[in-house]
């Protein structure tokens, strides 16, 4: 018994407390954003917030289950878990239920389950498992391709189910790969391509090509070994122009109209005022409402349940993807910066713990957890404030919904378990 108690105290309580703070604060904001009519009780299961309270209850049960498994279990069964998750995603094509045009739900009675929320931790486990294999070397092309395949499979399946937002999350694994030895050049190429894509859309191909040519020439001039480099530089330039052209082409023909408009709004590409006005009513409507709600909160907010825009349900999807705007309106700058700081602390804490792991599996997995949380945090809050284009993904531990909450809880608490076990590994 004594041994058992000691074991409990080995969990990283800082992580657990940060998790609980986010969960609790999230619940109150969901209550504000989702209540219909008077609030008679905090446990009114006819209301969405009452349902969420049940999800939270089940979350604690889930945590107990996760922690009761031996840490070794997750490493041993990583591949099986991954396989099950992928089968669940594939099964959607046959048994899935259409919700808002995305075929990403299973219906079980009145409940719905979104397997993509569970695919994240499964993929993180699989990536950790593969990279921690002694024979894996992340600097080789072969292993790079294999590990890329592990994340490519769920990403593709989810994309095919029309859930582009969740697909983007898989880019998070880049941080993991980089940490585990992926060459610097990938980072440079990735950053260059992002900048190039933005430039091409914002300023057109010609200006982008000229800018690229100037930069490439300067790089060439400062190069020490110039022999044979001319051709190399010309190839890079040609690729740059081709890529810009490709981005433009993809933007104009490859994207769906609403995706195109979201990017157009973000980069302020639309010049036609009539069309812009129309876009403001459709694609930018959520964003405008959410920005107004946040900014109307001021320094200290209007108070719990006092947000006029929240009460009036001005921000669509406010209890799910736009929950941060409720924080903004009712809790003001004090509340929003509190949430941002909680997230930063949680991610940094997980990173710190990951680095302290003795086993590579635990470290890679921890890194995966931090990266996935980071991408969700950045995209969700960035979107709600209009810093990045609209991408519909939830805010971890905060947004309404059972699948999301459970997916993130499993993701985090497997790591809490792994971390608690680090001493035993000796």
């Amino acid at each position: 018994m004594l041994r058992e108690n000691q074991r409990h105290f080995k969990f990283d309580w800082i992580t657990v407390i940060l998790f609980l703070l986010l969960l609790g604060f999230g619940y109150f904001n969901i209550m504000s954003a989702s209540h219909v009519g008077e609030i008679t009780s905090y446990f009114d299961t006819d209301q969405l917030y009452g349902k969420h309270l049940i999800f939270i209850g089940l979350t604690f049960a889930l945590i107990v289950i996760i922690l009761s498994f031996e840490a070794k279990f997750y490493e041993q069964f990583a591949s099986v878990i991954y396989l099950v998750a992928m089968l669940a995603l594939i099964g959607l094509f046959i048994f899935g239920k259409d919700v808002n045009g995305a075929r990403s739900w299973y219906g079980i009675g009145s409940m719905t389950i979104q397997p993509s929320e569970f695919a994240k931790f499964a993929t993180a486990l699989a990536v950790a498992k593969y990279i921690s294999d002694l024979q894996t070397n992340m600097t080789t092309i072969k292993d790079q391709l294999r590990v890329a395949a592990i994340i490519f499979i769920p990403a593709l399946l989810i994309l095919l189910q029309n859930d582009a937002g969740s697909t983007i999350v898989y880019l998070a694994f880049f941080f993991v790969f980089y940490r585990e030895g992926l060459q610097q050049v990938y980072l440079i190429i990735a950053l260059s391509l992002i900048i190039l894509a933005v430039l091409a859309l914002k300023f057109g191909i010609l200006i982008t090509a000229i800018a690229a040519a100037v930069i490439i020439t300067i790089v060439y001039l400062f190069r020490k070994k110039k022999r044979g480099a001319v051709l190399q530089h010309i190839i890079v330039l040609i690729f740059t122009v081709a890529f810009s052209y490709g981005v433009k082409l993809f933007y104009e023909h490859g994207l769906k109209a609403h995706q195109q408009n979201r990017i157009s709004l973000w980069l302020r590409l639309e010049k036609d005022p009539a069309k812009l006005e129309r876009m403001k009513k459709v694609e930018a409507y959520n964003l405008i409402q959410s920005e107004q709600a946040i900014s109307s909160g001021g320094i200290s907010g209007k108070g719990f349940l006092q947000g006029t825009r929240t009460t009036g349900k001005f921000v669509p999807e406010q209890h799910t993807d736009y929950i941060f705007s409720t924080v903004g309106e009712e809790w003001g700058f004090v509340g929003t910066s509190f949430v941002v700081i909680l997230f930063v602390l949680l991610i940094v804490r997980v990173l710190y713990l990951a680095e302290a792991q003795k086993s590579q599996f635990s470290r890679v997995y921890g890194y995966g957890v931090a990266s996935i949380l980071f991408v969700h945090f950045t995209i969700n809050i960035g979107m709600v404030m209009g810093l990045i284009p609209t991408v519909g993904i939830p805010l971890p531990f905060f947004s309404y919904g059972g699948s999301g909450l459970w997916g993130f809880t499993i993701l985090l608490f497997i790591f809490v378990k792994l971390d608690s076990n680090k001493i035993n590994e000796w």
């Binding site: 409402q289 825009r309 009036g312 960035g382």
Partner: protein
């Protein structure tokens, strides 16, 4: 290094987010204002606007319900052209109007209500009420409009109009579409009459539907009704003055000297106040305002500044006595004018000579007053100082500055002082002989009829006046003490008696003896003012203005009056008769000098006013013939009884 990439990115993103939040919520955020929160619908509850009564308790202005069609552009459902046509027919507007109005409303705000078609008639409302539901985004707002119980006194009562953008920006009380007093008593007593509108805050959802009261209605307020006011105008006297002013241009202002209360305030031509109520208000107002020939919206009793002419001579007599430069009995010679050396500075008419002050006033001798005036100015070391002393005395009669009262318009007039002529001629490069016109109320002196009426009130009171005002009583309030505190002139009381006697003699034996009223001791003074107009940039003289000031009775006067008739020729011809009739009407309540009344009612100056615009050469003053009208208005058919009769036809 590889360990740091994610760590630094996380911290960087956190900082960027907090910076962005700081910008949105702290830096770019003004204090929360519920009126700017478009999640909260503000529903106004307009109180009853206060009624206006005349001094005898006669109701002049009441209220009537009105129905405005409002629009919230964002909520307008797309209509096909047939539906739009039906809607336009119901509203009696054209398709073009429809598009313009909708565009204007959208431009103001797509989500706030704008008036679409204001002030429907009761009949239109009844028809539309049934069908408005079919047209999403439009609704009918019930409001209260003015209902005039009279068709006189448009300039006194004023009117209500929609509040303009600038006022809304400066005064948070008003919202678009609110009515506000634009002229007259409606403007000066706006806050008293309007009351305070009540407000309900209602939580909306994003589909603009009401969810329920905001904060359980704890912020809501009830409307406070506007207060009724009683004005000093005697509507019978006002109506009579307007009758007399028919077919003439000019102003009449009658004041009760014992209180400063304005009894009548007539301007001609005037218009029916009912023209400025309802849907036609804006159209009618522009026609009235743009009539630059008749200028019906220009209140000639308050705004017209003219050289006052001879009535101003009595002020010079009083200043002369006060400055001790002349005695009552000292006589001056008049040789058909005043001569400086061999140069005649001003002419005069034929009368006995030499004359003392009493004769000077009664005969209105120009030479007498030039003598007195020059002595005043030359009493001091330099003419500038003399003029300043003179101007201070004159200004103590309420001349040369705004009266600072409760009328919505006014003009300062002009009393020139030493600085004025220093600017005109150069410092000290002028003397009393340059400016003798001031002695006889010509030259640089200018005054409005209300200033002249107040001036004679001060003379009738022997040295003080109450600021002329129009408010008599406000329900449950005391009126401003500045209207109940006498203002003293700089002239000692003892100097007034001889001057008053002179004005009395004007009626007894002077220029006004033929317009005497039996049984009433009137003191008065006639005046004429030359005037000019530019026709094709040639300065052309028109027939003189006819001016008359009077007070009566001689002791403890009940009425002080100034009458001004444009191009009426000499003072006794139009203005004097009208002043006598007004005095008789006020004191006796009926007219015995029906001969004078008939003469005024049957004689028109309209032909005279057409002359400068005829493009043909014309004659003036004595060579001009008076126009006589056969079918004239009388007190029986004008203006209280016949609702359709107005001076300005639109």
């Amino acid at each position: 290094m590889r360990k740091l990439l994610l760590l630094t990115t996380v911290i960087l993103v956190g900082l960027v987010f907090i910076a962005r939040l700081f910008y949105l919520q702290v830096y770019d955020n003004t204090a929360y204002n519920i009126f700017e929160d478009n999640a909260i619908r503000k529903v106004y509850n307009y109180p009853k606007r206060g009624y206006v009564y005349d001094r005898n308790g006669k109701l002049l202005v009441a209220n009537q319900p009105s129905y405005d069609v409002m629009v919230i552009p964002r909520e307008v459902a797309p209509l096909d052209s047939l539906q739009i046509e039906e809607f336009c027919n119901l509203l009696k507007i054209t398709r073009e109007d429809y598009d313009n109005k909708l565009e204007k409303a959208t431009h103001y705000s797509p989500r706030l209500p704008s008036p679409f078609v204001p002030q429907l008639s009761k009949k239109d409302y009844a028809v539309l009420q049934e069908k408005i539901r079919k047209f999403e985004g439009f609704y009918i707002l019930k409001r209260s409009l003015r209902s005039y119980q009279t068709n006189i006194g448009a300039n006194v009562l004023g009117d209500l109009g929609e509040v303009n953008r600038k006022t809304i920006e400066n005064d948070a009380y008003y919202t678009l579409g609110d009515l506000i007093g634009k002229q007259g008593i409606e403007k000066t007593y706006e806050e008293t009459l309007r009351g305070v509108k009540g407000i309900k805050f209602i939580q909306k959802d994003r589909f603009n539907k009401n969810i329920g009261p905001f904060k359980e209605g704890t912020l809501d307020t009830l409307p406070q009704p506007g207060k009724d006011v009683t004005i000093t105008i005697d509507s019978d006297l006002q109506a009579y003055g307007e009758l007399l002013m028919k077919h003439k241009r000019g102003g009449i202002v009658a004041i009760d000297p014992s209180s400063g209360e304005i009894l009548a305030m007539v301007t001609g031509p005037s218009y029916n106040p009912n023209l400025l109520v309802g849907r036609e208000r804006n159209k009618n107002f522009s026609s009235l305002f743009l009539d630059k020939v008749n200028k019906p919206t220009f209140d000639r009793g308050l705004q017209a500044q003219y050289p006052p002419g001879s009535p101003f001579k009595v002020i010079n007599a009083l200043i002369g006595l006060q400055e001790n430069v002349v005695t009552v009995d000292e006589k001056f010679t008049c040789r058909m004018g005043y001569y400086y050396g061999s140069r005649r500075l001003t002419g005069c008419h034929h009368h006995r000579s030499p004359i003392a002050m009493n004769g000077g006033i009664a005969q209105s001798c120009n030479a007498y007053f030039v003598n007195v005036y020059r002595r005043i100015v030359d009493k001091y070391d330099d003419a500038g100082e003399g003029m300043n002393v003179w101007a201070n005395h004159a200004k103590s009669f309420g001349l040369g500055n705004f009266l600072n009262n409760d009328l919505s318009v006014g003009q300062p007039g002009r009393i020139p002082d030493g600085d004025y002529y220093d600017r005109q001629y150069g410092d000290n490069r002028w003397g009393s002989t340059y400016i003798v016109s001031n002695a006889i109320g010509q030259g640089e002196v200018e005054a409005t009829p209300i200033q002249l009426a107040n001036m004679v009130a001060a003379i009738g009171n022997r040295g003080y006046y109450y600021t002329p005002h129009i408010i008599k009583n406000i329900e449950g309030e005391t009126i401003d003490s500045k209207y109940t505190t006498p203002k003293y002139t700089t002239i000692d009381k003892k100097h007034f008696e001889p001057v008053v006697q002179g004005m009395f003699d004007v009626y007894n034996e002077g220029t006004a003896k033929h317009i005497r009223i039996p049984g009433i001791d009137i003191c008065g003074k006639t005046g004429t003012a030359e005037n000019f107009i530019k026709i094709d940039s040639v300065k052309t003289q028109l027939t003189d203005h006819s001016i008359f000031v009077a007070f009566a009775p001689k002791d403890n006067p009940k009425i002080a009056i100034a009458v001004f008739v444009e191009n009426g020729y000499w003072g006794g011809r139009f203005a004097g008769k009208m002043a006598s009739l007004m005095i008789e009407k006020h004191i006796k309540g009926h007219i015995t000098r029906t001969d004078l009344e008939k003469w005024i009612l049957t004689h028109s100056l309209e032909d005279e006013y057409k002359k400068p615009y005829s493009g043909e050469p014309f004659k003036i003053n004595g060579e001009s013939r008076l126009q006589v009208i056969e079918n004239y208005a009388t007190e029986e058919n004008y203006p209280l009884k016949n609702q359709n009769q107005i001076d300005v036809k639109l």
